[in-house]
């Protein structure tokens, strides 16, 4: 009974926070985007600027409601949002929800693969390095992590693209499936082939953070008094890591992995750009540089919810791993 009510309280508190977060995100993004110097009409017309008369510009502005002041537009937009309607994208001339669903379905596989790989590999590398601090393997892993942590994602992406796609021709050079095939002709194998290189790019850049943090935490654990005590009782290094290390190291790792969701969005933008992978990242870049307010807000909303859910899951995972902060268990 007590547990049920605390779960309820937990959920209610989380939901309230999410609502406040979304409200703040909405207001800030809307104001910021509207203060952006990019005129969406100019961005839309592009090089045809000299062929579009002032009358036609007015028609374009009216079509998107840009002839109204910012407050009116915000009120209209907020009203639509409350009805569950994200509006229509200026660039794609389609409902924002459709565009996001379409793009995210492409990005999802990429992000999920990269997220799991970078988390798992980073954790294992961190443990290996932390276990043997100062050894050759530790130094090799640190060198790798520092190098990768300071390499721009797009540079790594470009390098891999040149080596594996252009030179060796082991991997496809672009896109989420082979060019010239209809969507229903594409096999799972082909999709995986096209996923590998962008996912590896995101992973090898993403492991650095996880590996370094895990390593540091494990060193701390191994230097603690209880570890020393266990050592004195004859526990091997492997046993120490298994019985004391992993559980303690897992907590910060999970926080980090939850937070990595937001970085993943950022990294995906760049990787998708280089690999011409038509996911959410590409759409975000376009929405921003062409001042597509409805689409950009839709994506901001979506990613806010996405990251929030990720962090909440991390919170919940703590309670599975660490009995000290279990719901309802804290009071005893």
């Amino acid at each position: 009974m007590q547990i049920a009510s605390s779960i309820l309280r937990f959920t209610a508190r989380k939901l309230l926070r999410l609502l406040i977060l979304l409200g703040a995100v909405a207001v800030f993004s809307f104001v910021l985007i509207n203060l952006s110097p990019i005129d969406p009409v100019n961005a839309y017309i592009g090089a045809d600027m000299l062929l579009i008369s002032p009358e036609q510009r007015a028609l374009i502005a009216t079509r998107w409601g840009l002839d109204q002041p910012m407050t009116v537009r915000f009120a209209r937009w907020a009203e639509q949002i409350l009805q569950g309607n994200l509006g229509v994208s200026i660039i794609f001339n389609q409902p924002v929800a459709t565009v996001i669903a379409d793009r995210f379905s492409t990005s999802l596989a990429l992000m999920a693969t990269a997220w799991i790989l970078s988390g798992a590999i980073g954790f294992v590398l961190g443990i290996l390095a932390g276990m043997r601090e100062g050894s050759l393997i530790d130094r090799a892993i640190r060198l790798y992590a520092y190098t990768l942590a300071s390499s721009p994602t797009f540079w790594v992406a470009l390098l891999l693209l040149i080596i594996f796609s252009v030179s060796l021709k082991w991997a496809p050079f672009c896109c989420a499936s082979p060019p010239g095939l209809l969507p229903d002709q594409v096999t799972i194998t082909q999709r995986l082939q096209h996923l590998i290189l962008p996912a590896i790019t995101l992973s090898i850049v993403g492991v650095a953070n996880m590996a370094l943090h895990t390593r540091q935490k494990l060193i701390e654990v191994l230097q603690s008094e209880y570890a020393l005590f266990a050592r004195a009782q004859g526990e091997s290094i492997w046993g120490l890591v298994q019985n004391h290390g992993i559980r303690n190291v897992a907590l910060p790792a999970i926080t980090l992995q939850g937070a990595a969701l937001s970085e993943l969005f950022g990294g995906a933008v760049l990787a998708e750009q280089v690999f011409s992978y038509p996911g959410l990242g590409q759409a975000t870049v376009q929405a921003a540089i062409r001042s597509d307010v409805p689409l950009l807000l839709g994506i901001v909303f979506f990613s806010a919810i996405f990251v929030f859910v990720g962090n909440t899951l991390a919170d919940l995972a703590y309670q599975v791993i660490d009995p000290r902060i279990r719901i309802g268990g804290g009071a005893q």
Partner: protein, 553 residues
């Protein structure tokens, strides 16, 4: 950023190439790895096979993100692929009939009567009638898209295959709408149309995966010659940067549009096609002196140095345009002396002998400019110095601006070159010289660049150029009864022996170069004679796509 990436790419390719030479055991590029897993029924175009592929893959960009609806601006450069237009511009950019069989313009030039062919069908089998033409023009006039049909008053159906277009005022450049506005079916045009276009053009849409590719197939109901290439795949990789180049290098595409910096590379089985364009770059000078005036939006107008004709003409004469083409554009370009290089309405007499320091110095001396103590020219206490602004994101314009400033320095004119964002340029473009680039098949552009009534409206005549005699010549051109007759006036506005907006006249701009558009094309693919392309690099090359041929057996 893009330039950096391109440089980086070049470097890496160079290194890899070197390393490949040093190690003969490096795995040879084979096609098998990428094709082996593809289902045998799927059409595949391996680059190693030289027989006709079942489909062409083109990496030339040009995705219309908001869909393929002509009433919203799809196909505004002509040849909308899915739809057909009333008129067309052929390789020489002359107007020829397409859907229209003939058209006449009334004596008051307000009513255009158009007869259309009776054998045209939409790809859904329904005939194309005057109802559809009237609907298309009315719809395009109402909707806020990228095609401007605001001159149209109304479209009236006068017979099953005859339609009258009534204009608000005479405007011969309306003929450009006839040549670019694809006719949409009235019965099948709705909110979804942009995603699933139906038209009477040479190709129909098979599949469009946004951001990735567009697949089209020949339309069996097309009234014109059936294209030899039955299936086309437009692959939307980054064609302004290095995406298309990588695709071509990987042997996966038959046509790739690449920036000139990558055009110097070699790709096996592909040749470089270097297409002339009117994609021009030039220096716009503020024409009036700074008298403290402001635009309606509050930005300053005028510049005392560039308001002096001697300065503008001298700059025009001293610049070495051939050197700009060689140095900045790697040879992929041509000198520009006006805004419409190579088009039928260019005035050939407006061309000058440039790289001419003596003439330039003479002009300045005649204009009353004398060398000051620091070598910079002075006239009535005014120093010959001004700022030239280029869009900071464009490396080519930066190089052009810096080179032009260097070429002008021996005259004693100091040009301070600055890069800015477009939002800043909008504030500064009435009082500073700007490195702009335009270029269109539509003469309206020339009108808007030089007519005094266009001054201060957005990016139109930003320098507030004003010359009554040029104004009236431009008005005569716009009000001419046919494009042929208008051309004489368009040419006169450029230079008529005594007057003109080009160098010998008012020298309102210093036009510098036209960019060539560079493409890698499969050696087996004959793409005919491409048109002189407008500002956009990429899609315009498809203008003659119906006549493309695979020449290898």
């Amino acid at each position: 950023m893009r330039r950096m990436r391109t440089l980086l790419l070049g470097l890496i390719i160079g290194l890899l190439w070197l390393s490949a030479c040093g190690t003969p055991t490096a795995p040879a590029p084979t096609q098998t790895t990428t094709t082996a897993s593809q289902p045998t029924t799927a059409p595949v175009a391996p680059a190693t096979t030289r027989s006709a592929p079942q489909q062409l893959i083109l990496a030339i960009g040009g995705e219309s993100e908001d869909g393929y609806d002509p009433t919203l601006g799809w196909g505004r450069y002509g040849s909308p692929l899915f739809q057909s237009t009333l008129l067309q511009r052929n390789e020489q950019l002359q107007l020829v009939n397409d859907l229209a069989t003939d058209y006449t313009i009334s004596a008051d030039k307000l009513v255009w009567t158009i007869n259309i062919r009776q054998d045209a069908k939409f790809s859904d089998g329904k005939p194309v009638t005057s109802e559809d033409v009237a609907y298309t023009f009315t719809k395009a006039q109402e909707s806020g898209g990228k095609t401007d049909v605001t001159t149209l008053d109304k479209a009236v159906v006068t017979g099953p295959y005859q339609v009258e277009l009534h204009l608000k005022q005479p405007q011969i450049t309306f003929v450009q709408r006839l040549a670019t506005l694809g006719i949409v079916p009235k019965h099948a045009h709705g909110p979804d149309y942009a995603q699933k276009p139906i038209g009477s053009g040479p190709y129909t849409l098979v599949s469009w995966e946004k951001g990735k590719q567009l697949i089209v197939e020949a339309n069996p109901l097309y009234y014109g010659t059936q294209p030899q290439i039955k299936r086309l795949v437009f692959l939307f990789v980054d064609s302004e940067g290095d995406g298309a180049f990588i695709a071509a290098k990987a042997g996966q595409v038959q046509v790739a549009s690449v920036p000139p910096s990558l055009a110097v590379q070699q790709i096996p089985n592909m040749r470089l096609v270097d297409v002339k364009s009117v994609d021009n770059r030039g220096i716009m000078f503020p024409y009036v002196a700074d008298e403290g005036k402001k635009t309606p939006t509050g930005y300053p107008i005028g510049n005392n140095v560039t308001a002096d004709r001697a300065i503008r003409q001298a700059i025009n004469y001293v610049i070495d345009r051939k050197a700009l083409v060689q140095g900045v554009l790697e040879g992929y370009g041509s000198p520009a002396y006006g805004p419409v290089s190579g088009l039928a309405w260019e005035q050939p007499q407006a061309t000058i002998e440039d790289t001419n320091l003596a003439t330039a110095k003479q002009l300045l001396a005649d204009g009353g400019w004398q060398a000051g103590s620091d070598g910079v020219l002075v006239k009535d206490g005014l120093k010959a110095a001004f700022t030239l602004i280029y869009p900071a994101s464009d490396a080519t314009r930066q190089a052009l601006a810096l080179s032009a400033a260097d070429m002008v320095r021996p005259l004693g004119i100091t040009i301070n070159v600055e890069g800015k964002g477009w939002d800043d340029i909008e504030k500064l473009m009435h009082s500073n010289a700007i490195l702009f680039g335009w270029g269109s098949h539509d003469q309206t552009e020339m009108y808007n660049l030089y007519h005094s009534s266009a001054a201060g409206q957005g990016f139109y005549n930003t320098g507030y150029y004003a010359n009554q005699s040029i104004d009236s010549t431009l008005d005569l051109a716009l009000g001419a009864p046919s494009e042929q007759e208008a051309i004489a006036f368009w040419q006169k506005a450029q230079w008529d022996g005594t007057n003109g907006f080009t160098t010998k006249g008012d020298a309102a701009w210093a036009w510098l170069v036209n960019l060539d558009h560079t493409y890698f094309v499969d050696q087996c693919l004959d793409i005919g004679t491409p048109q002189i392309e407008p500002h956009g690099h990429g899609w315009p090359i498809t203008a003659g796509i119906v006549n493309w041929k695979w020449t290898c057996k």
